[in-house]
Point group: D3
Chain length 226, copies 6
């Protein structure tokens, strides 16, 4: 089974903590040991937020801020690589061809962001499409896709299952404001719809949940079905 | 005035025709002569459509199709460069830094696509943001933004002016189906909203309209105001 | 057996046609299945001709025209890659080291053009030399090497066998005019002479002929012997 | 006057603070306005230290740690670039040729680290050598070169002036232990000796001191004379 | 006037000698001072010959030998750059776009070889074509184009003037054997024919001859006229 | 066992001689056959010295001289590659990631220099650190580490064994003058100290000594122990 795992910045590195990275590395290694081919895409987390805040104060434009964010995701990717054993490609993949190449040769590949204007959510969806993944898992800080922002709306309902186009419909209005409330961003949702890759959105704070979801399909999040 | 001009594939190269490319080059040169700093972003057109069709028949996935599309846009960029005089950077810019660098040094810069998952609409918006453009012009095959697809819905109404967030609201449902009906794609609309760059969407079939819109603000399309 | 196959643009893509590409891909895969290590070099075909015509009208110089031609050959290479199964390196090789590296690791490698001033004929000969190929096959639109242009001269005689230096002698005067009449170009002929790689020039319109020539040595074209 | 300014990580970014970066940017701009050609090299600071600590806990080797450090210095370089006006090359220079090229064209160039095994101290010295700088200034967290570590040894004496080879002699034993006590590292000292560039080591916490030292030669640090 | 100067390896560096390089640098600088835009292409000389001999003994194939030759030409290019003043682009151009870009910005650009299978003769012709040069000068070790090899055939006649297609006709048979006797190689001749750039072949041992030929048209070599 | 072998320029190529290169290649192949994973780093030798001398006469600065030296080491690396059989990565590795990647995939990797300011001694130490080598061997022109320069001081004593920090202490003063007398340079010594890789310094003129030292630990040089 070929799996792309997106580990959000708020999950991997809300602040720098070797233990948390180690937990995720250990899940990735277990999955590889069980025979999965794995591409991992990591987000930026707290350091990205701090740098972007400082750069915005200094007058950087949005593309420059995106580039700083990408740089930080790639350092986070180095951390995850350091924590993974000999089966990981030691280079951070900078585009889909590099990642796909490493996976073809039997390595685990780790990416961060790729280009301004795309979040790592979208990178994970594009990588899943590029390598014809069987499964795409988003480990986020909320436990699935809700009808509205659960932290703001008590009546928000969690979906157990959505089609990819329903996902786009749900996400589109959320991403209208601030954007923070959508568990995956709109471009990612549209790529999932296009690629028809089976997708799970779940709470990745405890990395063990990702492992169980991949191996047994057992999870409390939301299934996105083609 | 710093201007980014997006010349859609259906406008620049519905099929290959040196005269049409020349017309667009001549507008770009006139604008440069009037003192504009210019970044041009060109689309894929008919050749891209043919190649993508053939590659899809051969089993290429969507990312591979995007890459073929990007390659074709870059050949189209070479055509536009060939038609431009000595003020153009003879290299096709492959990312925003290269384009921005050329513009800073006083050259006209021409780009095609950049990365899978992003249309050249989005590239133009990101470039406008990166170079802090004063104006972004989309030369498309329809003459502005409509409330719905004018070719399918007789009651479709054209907007003379929209805010950037209204643009996103109008575009979002259109991009739900086939996607062909939106004059600019959703990611582009969201980047315009983020960057607050003044934007015009107009019919670029006659390149003279782009020139007039930039120099005098006179056009029949839609103004997107920050 | 290590084989380099040159598939001329007029053979692979006189116009875009997925079926024709598929036919060539299937031959390459059969050969790989029979144990051949394969490098394939593809030409530009009709799209290249159209683009180069348009660019020439726009005032592009010959080097710029060559670059456009190279770009198109590389898109054609993407088509062939899309049609090939998992044994192909999904990246188009941009130089001999990349192609040689992929072949060493057991992949089929596909290239287009490399540099202005060299046709894909010459690229195929240089690749054959670089990887110490046992056999180089040119699939062209004529069925071998003739003493003069068979479409212009009724008395043109086909050679069954030539030494590499005889090939150079035959090709040199043909490439004096228009150049269209030589089945492989002069630089390629000189590289074949230098490298002493056994070479076959045959009609590649029916890709099955390439397969038979490689596997059984059976063909109606011309053998170039060291 | 061509000047290379090394802004240590502990000076530019002990922790992330837009104001501090702004102060250094403003000095660089003032110097450029006074006619100086400027290359700036920035260090890693607190974020580098945190990431390196985490990566070491995860089993990264020293070269991997260096690479993470380099990545962070380059993000810091982006911050400084964001704070500088239109005269800065917006790209972070990744090697001496890129930086030298930008400076030749009249831009301010900003670099971080270059390669594992070299600190940004050494990068600044190599850049000064490469561009034949008239002056190299190290803005560090101590106010000059001492005979021993002033924070550990009350009898440490500050040098007002040293020859470059005396500098090497002073630095060599300091860099034997922990390495933290030397104001510039040994490789940097040896490059200064080799290049014979006039050098000042001073306390850069207040960026105004760097400006005064460059413009008037007035400072409380240590002069290294060829 | 835009001029491309090819300085053969046997002329620039039969063996390493700083004085000889300096002589050529001084001519290039004089020409630049007179208002010429200049691209210089240098050959490999004695060091290339020695390395290629050793590599051939070790079993390297012809493409590997070419790559070693290219590497040496690029070191020779570094020597020439070192000898040129501030108007030279300090980077060795690795392809035509880099060289063309430097020349457009007012720099002298220096190249060596580009790709296996092409001599620096051909590189100079391609560069002349790419930058639309007014004049291409080959400084070789013989004083023009002869009807046959003057060192072997007492009846060899020197041409004062040849058309580009006559040049190809003269060169073609010479390049049949050993290849050493042709003053420029066949691919170069064909590129000159294609590009229609005015060309001079002369004895470059005394660099002053190149200067006079460019500035006054006065020389004892052979004029190749379009 | 993973081994990094540094073959000094004065050992591999005091002057160009295919036989000497062949001798070293044969040792590397024997070691690979015995199961060693091998990274080889080669120096510049006589050609580097000649080029650097000429460039210095022409006014090149030290960074430019270093770059010329690096270029020559990489040509020497091509020679060694040509002499090695099919188990070598045919590309010269330009950084530690490339070399490490090749070694991970089972190839022998060959490097020359990497960056100005670092000798190939330091490159070998950094590569050993990067790939977590079990052993680092310096094949130099002297037979070990001495208390002072044996060619200048009759009382110089050879060490059979040193700790890495003792090595730094011994090397530091030697590298104060001319630098020629130290068998490995100071930066290399400090990297060895940091990485704790077991290291042997021996006379590599006869390559068989390197083979015996790796396979049996038997040698007349100096052991550097962590």
């Amino acid at each position: 089974m070929r799996v792309v795992i997106s580990i959000g910045g708020s999950v991997l590195a809300p602040e720098l903590d070797a233990r948390r990275v180690e937990g995720h590395a250990s899940v990735v290694e277990n999955l590889a040991r069980e025979g999965c081919e794995i591409g991992a895409v990591v987000g930026g987390g707290g350091v990205a937020r701090d740098y972007i805040g400082a750069a915005r104060d200094l007058g950087a434009n949005e593309v420059q801020l995106d580039q700083i964010g990408i740089d930080v995701t790639r350092i986070n990717a180095r951390l995850l690589i350091a924590a993974l054993g000999p089966r990981v490609d030691p280079k951070v993949a900078h585009d889909y061809e590099e990642a796909g190449d490493a996976i073809r040769r039997g390595d685990i590949s780790v990416m961060g962001g790729v280009m301004p204007g795309q979040t790592t959510d979208a990178v994970a969806a594009a990588l899943a499409e590029y390598v014809d993944a069987d499964l795409l898992v988003y480990g986020t800080s909320v436990n699935g896709v809700y009808s509205s922002d659960p932290s703001a709306d008590d009546g928000a309902e969690k979906y157990d299952e959505l089609s990819a186009s329903e996902l786009v419909d749900v996400i589109a209005p959320m991403s209208r404001d601030a954007g923070a409330s959508a568990p995956v961003d709109l471009l990612a949702a549209k790529l999932i719809e296009r690629s028809k890759v089976r997708t799970i959105v779940l709470d990745g704070t405890d990395p063990g949940r990702i492992e169980r979801a991949v191996l047994s399909g057992d999870h409390d999040g939301t299934n996105i079905v083609p």
